[in-house]
């Protein structure tokens, strides 16, 4: 789908931390994480529930800001960006896949895929062409006019992947993308994500699924908000 220089650092997280104020005192969800994500990376983040995986993913995806440390996206310190600039960054450079898909039920599969293109200001013709290509890419060209309620879980996640890829992002973030799917469907989604990564998009997956994590080139094991160890394949 894309071709970028492999050595390019997309995300440079330097000792980032994220804490939440709670009545009983601050909770440190992520502590001093240092991490670089390069173009073409395939990273899985694993760890027990509540260890800070999703919080780290949200910071990498610029939907949440670190409480400490510095996070650079393409060399830009995201903490210095306005909300509008961060939105624009997410729209054009980052894709998100969610465990619960979050497709809009009143829109067809094609319309769901078109949404980020429309928000990015693409022309009607460009939107339609790109949507067609993307639905074809995820194997759902024949289901373009179906609403989410008419699709299976696996198909919904495929549409969500197509939507995440709409604006040709550098980085695709997936939070438990197979969490709501059976094993066989999860394997199909994993294969699709492998293909997305092979086509040049950096991929970070938060997962409990060891099979899915096993496909990644780098596996980060988290515990108590820290990256406990990193395994490289």
């Amino acid at each position: 789908m894309r071709g970028r220089a492999v050595s390019n650092v997309i995300v440079d997280a330097r000792e980032v931390g994220r804490s939440f104020a709670m009545p009983a005192g601050p909770v440190h969800a992520v502590r001093d994480v240092t991490l670089q994500i390069r173009a073409g990376d395939h990273i899985a983040v694993r760890g027990p529930s509540g260890c800070g995986k999703s919080t780290l993913l949200h910071m990498l995806g610029v939907v949440d800001a670190p409480s400490s440390g510095t996070l650079l996206f393409d060399g830009q310190d995201v903490s210095r960006l306005s909300d509008a600039r961060r939105s624009a960054l997410r729209l054009r450079r980052i894709g998100f896949i969610f465990q619960r898909f979050f497709l809009l039920p009143m829109l067809t599969a094609a319309e769901n895929v078109e949404l980020p293109l429309s928000e990015a200001g693409a022309s009607r013709r460009d939107r339609q062409e790109r949507t067609k290509v993307l639905l074809d890419y995820v194997g759902l060209a024949a289901r373009a006019d179906h609403r989410p309620s008419q699709l299976s879980g696996g198909e919904m996640q495929r549409v969500a992947i197509a939507r995440a890829l709409a604006n040709n992002p550098q980085l695709l973030l997936a939070d438990e993308p197979t969490g709501e799917l059976d094993e066989a469907t999860g394997a199909q989604i994993a294969a699709l994500l492998d293909r997305v990564n092979a086509d040049g998009t950096a991929l970070v997956i938060v997962t409990h699924d060891s099979t899915l994590a096993g496909r990644a080139a780098r596996v980060l094991m988290m515990r108590d908000g820290r990256i406990e160890r990193e395994a490289t394949r």
Binding site: G95, F98, A164
Partner: protein, 399 residues
């Protein structure tokens, strides 16, 4: 897909909520339109009625509106007024209660208007009625009657009526007068259930047995130019009398009797608009709260804060806009029914309307509904604009 298209899909997604909102706004909008029409309707209608009468100054012993008292030495006063260079014509109007006798039924109560005009410059003299059929009454034994009397007394043009008029006191016993009906007329200032007879002052005198005196309930004046200046000129030649232009009469009505309707209208407008704001705000807030996960996901995908705010505002505008469109025919229909009910009150001229459609009322209606759409959307817009994306996504997964 732009914000409006997106909002439309959101509405269609939850048809029951959308229908509830649209119908609610339609009902509220109809009431709002009626209140706006009511707030100015009487004034507009009265101004129209006065202007259509053809007389632009009214001279009486009291300020209008107000009843009682008569202009004494009416002929001499009218002559002095008519002599003014800025006066085209004058009309003495004398009003008496009358009862038309009819065979096989109770007498018909009516108001007899006797008039006597004086034109200085050949200007036509318009009686305070409009002849619909036949011709106007000229002689001392001629009258015009309204259609209701003609029907009740089984009369037509050329027929005769026997009536007893009471010019001085209700209890006076006078011999009946036989008068010829020369025309069927409309009396715009007569009340809805008030029957009208019109004729010359001589005819009225004849009906009253000559017991009238040189008095007038009202002197009507047509000016050659600016009515306000003519009214100023009349005051010195008619001392102790009030000379009021149509504008001044309308102004007085605005300050006195019609204020009541404006106040009612203002209170009910506030209540209806508040209700609409609450209804739409609750519907949108519930809708937004049900979709927090989706909204957070859209934000994570790069939808800007202003875009999700626009979506909510567009949804509000669509509900209010659709409801507002329906409210127009509904409001006009309701206004027509309410107008009929209010006009049945005694003493209200049949041609006076409480609800009068005006472009300005429609503009205010649209403006208030637009403000409703914005104000109602403020709270749900605040929810989506301050939505913590990461926390919401986390909560959705845990939930």
């Amino acid at each position: 897909m732009n914000a409006v298209g997106f909002a439309w899909r959101s509405l269609v997604r939850q048809p029951a909520r959308a229908i509830l909102g649209v119908l609610g706004v339609a009902a509220v909008g109809a009431l709002l339109l009626d209140m706006l029409l009511l707030s100015q309707g009487l004034i507009v209608s009265m101004r129209d009625l006065l202007d259509r009468s053809g007389w632009d100054i009214r001279v009486s012993v009291r300020e209008i509106p107000g009843r009682g008292g008569r202009v004494s030495d009416a002929s001499e006063t009218a002559a002095r007024i008519a002599a003014l260079p800025s006066v085209k014509a004058t009309l003495i109007v004398r009003i008496a209660n009358a009862r038309i006798e009819r065979e096989g039924g109770p007498p018909i109560a009516a108001t007899f208007e006797g008039v006597s005009g004086r034109s200085n410059k050949g200007a036509p003299i318009t009686p305070p009625w409009t002849v619909l059929r036949g011709r106007d009454a000229r002689g001392a034994n001629e009258v015009v009657v309204d259609a209701a009397i003609a029907k009740a007394a089984n009369l037509d043009v050329g027929g005769t009526i026997t009536l007893r008029a009471s010019c001085v006191a209700d209890l006076e016993a006078l011999p009946p007068a036989r008068l010829q009906v020369t025309g069927i007329a409309e009396f715009p200032f007569a009340g809805t259930n008030e029957e009208g007879i019109g004729g010359s002052l001589d005819a009225l005198k004849a009906a009253c047995g000559g017991n009238v005196g040189d008095e007038a309930d009202l002197l009507l004046v047509t000016s050659t130019g600016e009515s306000r200046e003519t009214a100023e000129a009349i005051r010195p030649v008619a001392p102790g009398l009030f000379a009021m232009t149509n504008d001044e009469v309308v102004g007085r009505l605005q300050q006195t009797g019609f204020t009541y309707f404006r106040q009612i209208s203002a209170v009910l407008t506030t209540v209806t608009v508040s209700f609409a704001v609450l209804l739409i705000s609750v519907l949108l807030t519930v809708s937004v709260n049900q979709r927090l996960g989706e909204i957070a996901a859209l934000r994570a995908l790069g939808f800007s804060r202003s875009r999700v705010v626009k979506d909510v505002l567009s949804e509000s505008a669509l509900i209010v806009g659709l409801g507002g469109l329906i409210s127009l025919p509904l409001g006009l229909l309701l206004a027509s029914g309410l107008d009929r009910i209010l006009k049945a009150m005694p003493g209200i001229p049949a041609e006076l309307h409480f609800f009068v459609f005006e472009g300005s009322a429609l503009a205010v209606h649209i403006g208030l509904l637009a403000a409703t759409a914005i104000v109602a959307a403020l709270y749900p817009m605040r929810i989506v604009s301050t939505l913590p994306i990461a926390a919401t996504l986390r909560d959705e997964v845990i939930g």
